[in-house]
Amino acid sequence: MEFFLISLLNGVSYGLLLFMLSAGLTLIFSMMGVLNFAHASFYMLGAYWGYTLSALWGFVPALILAPLGVGLLGAGFEKWFLRRVHAHGHVPELLITFGLAYVVLEVVQLLWGRSAVPFAPPAWLQGPAFTLIGGGPFTDLHWVWGAASEAACQGTALCSPFPATRAFMMGVALVMVISLWALITHTRVGLVIQAALTHPQAVQTLGHNVPRVFMLVFGVGTGLAALAGVIGGSTFVTEPSMAATVGSVTFVVIVVGGLGSLAGAFGASLLIGTVQTMAVAIDLSLSDLWLALGLPGQASAATSPWMKLTLSQAAPILPYLFLVLMLMVRPRGLMGTREG
Amino acid sequence: MTPVLRLQGVHKRFGNTEVIQGVDLDVMRGERVAIIGPNGAGKSTLFNLISGRFAPSQGRIELLGQRIDGLPPHAIHRLGLARSFQITHLFNGMTVYENLRCSVLWSLGHGYSCWKFLSSMKDANDRTEALLNQLGLGHKRHELAMNLSYAEQRALELGVTLGSHSEVLLLDEPTAGMSRSETRHFIQLIAQITQGKTLLMVEHDMGVVFELADKIAVLVHGQVMAFDTPSQVRENQQVQAAYLGALAAAEGKHA
C-alpha cells in the first residue's frame, strides 16, 4: 500500500515536472503558433547552467539565475532569429527551432562533455522528505518526517521513503501553477494571453504590441523550461540525452491535453506522468493475466513475445500509445479547442 | 418543376448567435438569383451552408432532388454544385494553367489516378485551354497564381469554380474590390460563361444585381425578407425600409 502511495506521489511529481515544461510550450504555441521543437533544449540548458551556477554560488542562486539567464537567451532567440522566419509561415518556424535543438545539443556537448555531469541536489534536499511505514497491506500506515530509523524498518515493516527532491519538485511546480493561474486570470497581460490561447489573430488585430508580447512569452516559456531543468537535472540526471527523452513526452502531453489548453496540459501531464511512473513498477504481462484468468490458449500465451511483455518493459511506449490513440479517437485532445 | 436547389427551414447557430434564422428558398433551373442584404445578414454563411463548409443546425437543403445538408464539400461538389469565394482561395504555388486543370479533373472522371500522364489527357487539357481563353488569361498561363494582379486572381477564382461545368454555381461577391470598369467587364464575362447554368450570386453592387439577376433574394438578419423579380423587390415596402435608398440610387444609375 505504502509502495503504491509513494509510486503515486512519484508519478504526480514527474507529472508536475512535465507540466512545467508543457505549460511553457503551450503558451508559446498558443500565442505564436509555433511549436518550439527546441523547448526541451532549454530544459537541458537550465540543468547545465544550474549545475555550473550551483557549483559556483549554491543551489538557490542557481535556481533563480539559471531560469532567468535561459529565459533571456530564449527571448533573444525569438527576437533575432524566430522573428525573421515568422513571415515564411509555421513550417519554417518549426524547422528553425528544430535546427536550434541540433545546435544547442552540440554546444552543450562541447562545453560540458558527452557524459553525464554530477549535478547533485543540495544537502538540505538530500534524503527523504518523509517515510511511510507499514507492516503489510492491512496494518496501520503511519509516516515519519525524514528518514525512518533503523529499528522501525526491521522485521515485517516496510519502509518507503519519499525523496525530498521530489517533494521540492512538486512544491515548485505547484507554486508555478498557482502563479501562472494568478497571472493569467488577474493581470492585463494574462487577459491578452487568455485571448490569444484561442484567438491569436484577433489579439493581433486589437493592436497589442505583439512583438514585445511574443518576446515575453517566449522568454517566460523557456525560462519555465529551464526552471524545470534545474530541478529535473538535480533530481534525475544531467546528460546530453535528457533533452531528447523528455522532449518527446512533452509533445505527447500537449497533444493529448489539447493544443492550446493549459488545463488540458495539466491534466495530461499528471495522467501521463503517473501512468508511466507506476507502469515501471508493475512487472505483470498480458500472458500473466491470461494465465490468471484461465483463458484458453495458455501455451501460446506463455511464449508469444508481445504477450510476454511486462508492463514495466512497455512503459517507455505508453505515452506514444496514448498519443496515437488520442489522435485517432479525439484529435482535439482532452480539452483542446484548436487543432493547430 | 422541381427546384434545382431547395432550402427548407435552414437555421445556423454559432454558439449563442443564430446567424441564419429560418431560410426557405427554391431556385429553378437556369435562374439567376442575386442574394443581397446588409453586412452581417448571413449571406456568406448561407453559401457556406449550401456548399457544405458548415452543416446547418436545423433544416434541409436539397440539390437536384438530393439531400445535401450535412454532407462534406467534396460530396456536394460531385452532385453538381460549385462555389467561388469572396476572399480568393487559389492554389498559390501552382500556375494558372494548373489551377484550372485541377478544377476540371473530377468532373471528367479522372479521380485520384496516378497511372495517367496529365499531358496525355486531351479532354482535361482541352477544357482547360477553353477556360483559359474564355477568361482571357491565356497570356498568363505559366504565371504562379500568387503573382497575378487582383483582378486576374478574381478571374482565376471564377475559372476554378467553373472548370467542373457544374449545374449550380454559387458566386460569393465575385466583383469584390474591383474598379467600375473591371466590374463591368467581369460581369459580362460571368453572364457569358454561365449561360444555361443556375446561378446564385452574393452581390453588393446594385448595378450588377439589376443587370444580371432574374430574381433577387433579400437576406436580412438571417431571414429571406423577399424573393422576387427585381422590379417587385424594388417596390417591396419592407425592403425599401431595410435598404433606404440603395435601390433607388441603383435605379437612377441603371436608367
Binding site: L110, L327 | P72, G93
Partner: protein, 427 residues
C-alpha cells in the same frame, strides 16, 4: 500548344524529363569507371540509396506540404522486412532472389504506410507532424522491446552472397552491388518524377497549397494525402531494402529519430520545392556522414548552423539558390553584377573560414587541450592555448563580414538600377 512543357514557372516540369534521365543514366554508368576504389563505389551506392529515401520524403514534404518527423519508420521497417526476407532466402522453402530484395522492402514499406498512414493523414499541418513524431518514437521504442523481430542491440545481419549466381552475378564485389543499386535508383527516380506528372501528383500540390479549396472542387484532401503517403512509403521501403543489400546489417538506428531528422534536414537543405532538391540533399547527407565527419569533430554543429541559416535566408534550399543564380546570370545586364557577386562570394568564404577556424580552435581546445597536441588545420599547426590563432581567426571573420557588408551594398545598389526581374517561381 503542348501544355506538357511549360518552361519557366512550374518547378516540377522544368525540363523534358527524358533528357535528365538520360544524363543520370550516363553519369551512373560512367561513375564506377571514374571512381574505381571500393570505398568510392560504396559512397556512390550510399548516395543512390539516400537519393531514393530523400525523394520519397519529399513527396510528403515538398510536394504535399506534410512535415513528417518519422520517415525513418518506413525506410527502417522496409529494411527490417527486407532483412528477414534475405535471411530466410538462405533457408529452405520459398526464397526471394537477392536482386529483388529491395522490392520486398518496398512492398512492406507500402504496407506499413497503408496501416500507419491512415491514422497519420487524417489530420494535416502541426497535428500531422506530431502524429509522425509519436509514431516514430513508438516504433523506435518497440524496436528495443521486441528483440525477435528487431534483433535487439546487435540488430540483424544477413548475407547477400547466396543463392544461384545468374550470369556470374553474386554481389560479392562492390561494383556489382553498385550496379544493382544504380538500376533501382534510376528506375525509382524516374517513377517518382513520373508521379509528379500525374493527376494525383498535381492534386498533392493542390492539397499543399489549399486543402480546403481542393475539397470544393470534388476531392477529399485526406484521401490525396493518404495515397501520397502510401506511394512515399513504397519508395522509402525500396530504399531500406537497398540499404540491406549494401550494408548487410540493420540495427535499431534505421528507425531512430536521428535518421528521421537527417532526412528532414538534408531534404530541406537540398531544396524541397524542386524535384532535384532532395537529390542534392542526399549527396550532402552521404558526403557529410562519410567525409565531413572525418575531417572535423564539429560537423554536426556546422550542419545545425547551416540549417538555421538556410531556414532564415534561403528556405528553398540549395536548389532554389541554384535557380536564383541561373536567373540573374541569364539577365542581359548581368555583367555589371559579376564584380559585386564575386566580392560577396569571396567575403562570405573568408568569413566562413574565420568562423570555422574559431570553431575548430574551440573544439580542439575543449576536447584535446588536456592532451597537449596542437590543432592541425589547413595544413598548419596551431596551439590552442596561445592568443595568436584566436586573434587571427577573429580578424579573418571580421574582415569577411566587413567585405560582405560592402559588396552586398554595392550589389543592392546595382540590382535596383536594373530592370525588375520577371516574376516567376518562388523559391
Amino acid at each position: 500548344m503542348n501544355p506538357a512543357k511549360p518552361l519557366r514557372a512550374d518547378p516540377f516540369a522544368v525540363h523534358p524529363a527524358w533528357r535528365w534521365m538520360f544524363l543520370l543514366a550516363a553519369f551512373m554508368l560512367l561513375a564506377p569507371w571514374v571512381f574505381r576504389s571500393p570505398f568510392a563505389q560504396a559512397v556512390l551506392t550510399q548516395i543512390g540509396i539516400a537519393m531514393v529515401a530523400c525523394l520519397s520524403y519529399n513527396i510528403l514534404l515538398g510536394q504535399g506540404g506534410m512535415l513528417s518527423f518519422g520517415h525513418a519508420v518506413y525506410t527502417g521497417l522496409g529494411a527490417y522486412m527486407a532483412m528477414h526476407a534475405l535471411q530466410s532466402a538462405g533457408s529452405a522453402g520459398w526464397s526471394v532472389p537477392v536482386s529483388l530484395i529491395p522490392l520486398v522492402g518496398g512492398v512492406c514499406g507500402m504496407g506499413f504506410a497503408v496501416v500507419l498512414g491512415y491514422v497519420t493523414t487524417r489530420r494535416s499541418g502541426t497535428t500531422l507532424a506530431m502524429i509522425t513524431l509519436g509514431m516514430a518514437e513508438l516504433v523506435f521504442a518497440m524496436s528495443l522491446m521486441f528483440t525477435d523481430f528487431f534483433g535487439g542491440e546487435a540488430g540483424l545481419s544477413g548475407n547477400r552472397v547466396q543463392g544461384r549466381a545468374l550470369w556470374g552475378i553474386d554481389f560479392k564485389s562492390q561494383t556489382q552491388v553498385y550496379a544493382l543499386i544504380a538500376i533501382y535508383t534510376w528506375v525509382c527516380v524516374g517513377l517518382m518524377y513520373a508521379f509528379t506528372q500525374t493527376p494525383l501528383g498535381r492534386l498533392l500540390n493542390a492539397v499543399r497549397d489549399n486543402a480546403e479549396r481542393l475539397s470544393f472542387i470534388g476531392y477529399q484532401p485526406q484521401r490525396v494525402r493518404y495515397l501520397a503517403f502510401i506511394i512515399s512509403g513504397f519508395f522509402a521501403g525500396v530504399s531500406g531494402g537497398m540499404a540491406v543489400l549494401h550494408f548487410e546489417i540493420v540495427t535499431a538506428e534505421v528507425v531512430g529519430a536521428a535518421r528521421s531528422g537527417a532526412y528532414l534536414l538534408f531534404t530541406f537543405l537540398g531544396g524541397s520545392s524542386y524535384f532535384a532538391g532532395p537529390i542534392l540533399g542526399a549527396v550532402g547527407m552521404v558526403l557529410s556522414a562519410v567525409l565531413l565527419s572525418e575531417w572535423t569533430a564539429a560537423w554536426l554543429l556546422y550542419l545545425g548552423v547551416l540549417f538555421v541559416a538556410m531556414v532564415m535566408y534561403a528556405p528553398g534550399g540549395l536548389a532554389s539558390m541554384g535557380v536564383w543564380h541561373l536567373r540573374w546570370i541569364m539577365q542581359p545586364a548581368a555583367s555589371r553584377l559579376w564584380t559585386w557577386y564575386l566580392g560577396c562570394f569571396i567575403s562570405a568564404a573568408v568569413a566562413a573560414l574565420g568562423a570555422a577556424s574559431a570553431i575548430e580552435l574551440f573544439y580542439h581546445h575543449q576536447l584535446q587541450s588536456s592532451v597537449g597536441t596542437p590543432l592541425r588545420w589547413l595544413g598548419q599547426s596551431w596551439a590552442t592555448d596561445q592568443p595568436m590563432p584566436w586573434a587571427l581567426a577573429a580578424l579573418i571573420l571580421l574582415l569577411g563580414l566587413a567585405g560582405w557588408r560592402f559588396f552586398k551594398r554595392q550589389w543592392d545598389k546595382t540590382w535596383e538600377t536594373m530592370a525588375p526581374p520577371r516574376s516567376g517561381a518562388a523559391p
